[in-house]
């Protein structure tokens, strides 16, 4: 991967995972899962208006804002919600929400599509499951693209 295009937040998350053994990587994913922020109040109860991530096994909904809620005009924020019974999916969403929120739209669009495959989780959670995170990143990027074009 070309680190020149990978934002520092995502590079740091990747390095944190890669520094750990397989078992501890799961624990770190669980920490991310527990840290997934609640939806902003205006979105609560409107989950059905968010985009469903079909690639994930559990119901997870995402939405992206660009330049809203007091952000500078091109700053991206990602929101997601997934049930407590789906900690892996919550963990994926949390990594992306933390890694992407605050970046500019151009930075988000430049994130390599295979980023989820590089953070050392393929073995810990299985390649099939990590595909859910690839799908999630793709949907975020499409939403950002739609918002800025």
């Amino acid at each position: 991967m070309n680190d020149a295009t990978l934002p520092a937040t995502l590079a740091e998350i990747r390095d944190d995972f890669l520094a750990l053994g397989q078992k501890d990587r799961l624990q770190l994913l669980l920490e991310f899962s527990n840290e997934l922020p609640a939806l902003p109040e205006r979105l609560q109860g409107h989950e059905d208006e968010l985009e469903r991530v079909e690639e994930c096994q559990s119901p997870v909904f995402i939405t992206v804002t660009v330049g809203e809620d007091g952000d500078a005009p091109d700053v991206v924020r990602m929101h997601a919600t997934a049930p407590r019974e789906a900690p892996t999916t919550r963990g994926f969403a949390s990594i992306l929400a933390q890694g992407l929120s605050g970046l500019t739209a151009a930075q988000v669009l430049a994130v390599p599509a295979d980023y989820p495959l590089t953070i050392g989780l393929s073995e810990a959670v299985s390649p099939l499951r990590i595909r859910g995170m690839v799908g999630m990143l793709g949907r975020v990027q499409r939403q950002v693209q739609a918002a800025v074009s």
């Binding site: 119901p59 019974e85 892996t88």
Partner: protein, 301 residues
């Protein structure tokens, strides 16, 4: 068998009551510290166990533990011996498996244990959801395991496992497709809400009847009583007193649940799970496929 059999009234009607335990029974065994009993959690979500599990339970994951990492197959006898030994399970150990989603993945794990002929393996009726609904203890404490010696035994792939050629040779005998109606009729190739797992064609194996797997479960995740299961499979699916039955789904996990029902609760002699399932059949060259809501007929070629 090491641990006593759960004498629950409901189970006595099943063909093999010793294959199920109730949450009350498991609680009693845990409280009594019954020796040589290991509780295994097996979930769809690889992290669910870490959020809280039955005290003393170990985790076995269908992807990362039971599947061969390279070939589309299950782990071999050596890997199985290493896995079970590392979980404190010996050949004589009583294993109780439980999991999320009506024991979907727990039944899959039980089926894989059965490929290796592990004798005393049981399901917790109602699974993780019932245990939690009854406010029973969960912990995030790491389970202290005393490793055991598990012998290297060869997997037996002929008795409860079917391959594509077995299904072709079986056409005309009872065949159950346990997927959703939309997958069965060919309008979609994956379960609703599930990711694409690659089948090139939609539809079902000719003559297969469609009984979605969760039909066997009551709203609380327990298995339906014997009489209801008889009505669903013996009569509804038209299996009657047939000798041989094959069940399939998309990758063989949902059909493990139905396999458990047919084999252990209804007592059919020869039940096989076709784990290649639709992801193999729906992509294989020149195998017959039927689309639409009707089972269709055996092709004459």
């Amino acid at each position: 068998m090491t641990a006593p059999v759960d004498p629950s009234e409901k189970f006595t009607a099943y063909a093999h009551p010793e294959r199920l335990v109730s949450t009350e029974w498991l609680q009693e065994q845990l409280d009594a510290r019954t020796p040589d009993l290991v509780v295994v959690e097996s979930d769809e979500d690889v992290l669910l166990y870490e959020t809280g599990h039955i005290p003393g339970a170990v985790k076995i994951d269908w992807h990362t533990d039971l599947n061969d990492p390279v070939q589309r197959d299950y782990i071999d006898g050596e890997a199985f011996a290493e896995l079970l030994g590392s979980k404190g399970i010996g050949r004589e150990t009583t294993v109780v498996v439980y999991g999320d989603k009506n024991n979907w993945w727990a039944a899959y794990a039980l089926w894989v244990f059965s490929l290796f002929g592990h004798e005393d393996v049981r399901l917790l009726d109602g699974g993780r959801a019932k245990w939690i609904a009854e406010d029973r203890a969960l912990t995030t404490d790491e389970t202290a395991v005393t490793p055991a010696e598990y012998p290297v035994v060869e997997r037996i792939d002929t008795e409860i496992r079917a391959y594509k050629d077995d299904v072709l040779a079986h056409l005309g005998k009872p065949l159950i497709d346990v997927r959703s109606p939309g997958e069965y009729d060919g309008s979609r190739t994956t379960a609703p809400d599930y990711p694409e797992e690659g089948a090139l064609r939609g539809g079902h194996v000719p003559t297969a009847v469609n009984i979605p797997w969760a039909t066997a479960a009551a709203p609380d995740g327990t298995f339906k009583p014997r009489a209801e299961l008889d009505a669903i499979y013996r009569e509804g699916a038209g299996i009657g007193d047939a000798d041989e039955v094959i069940a399939y789904c998309r990758i063989g996990e949902r059909s493990s649940h139905t396999w458990f029902v047919l084999q252990h609760l209804l007592g059919y002699d020869s039940v096989r799970n076709y784990d290649g399932s639709w992801t193999e059949w729906g992509s294989a060259v020149r195998v017959p496929i039927v689309q639409g809501a009707e089972p269709g007929t055996v092709p004459n070629r």
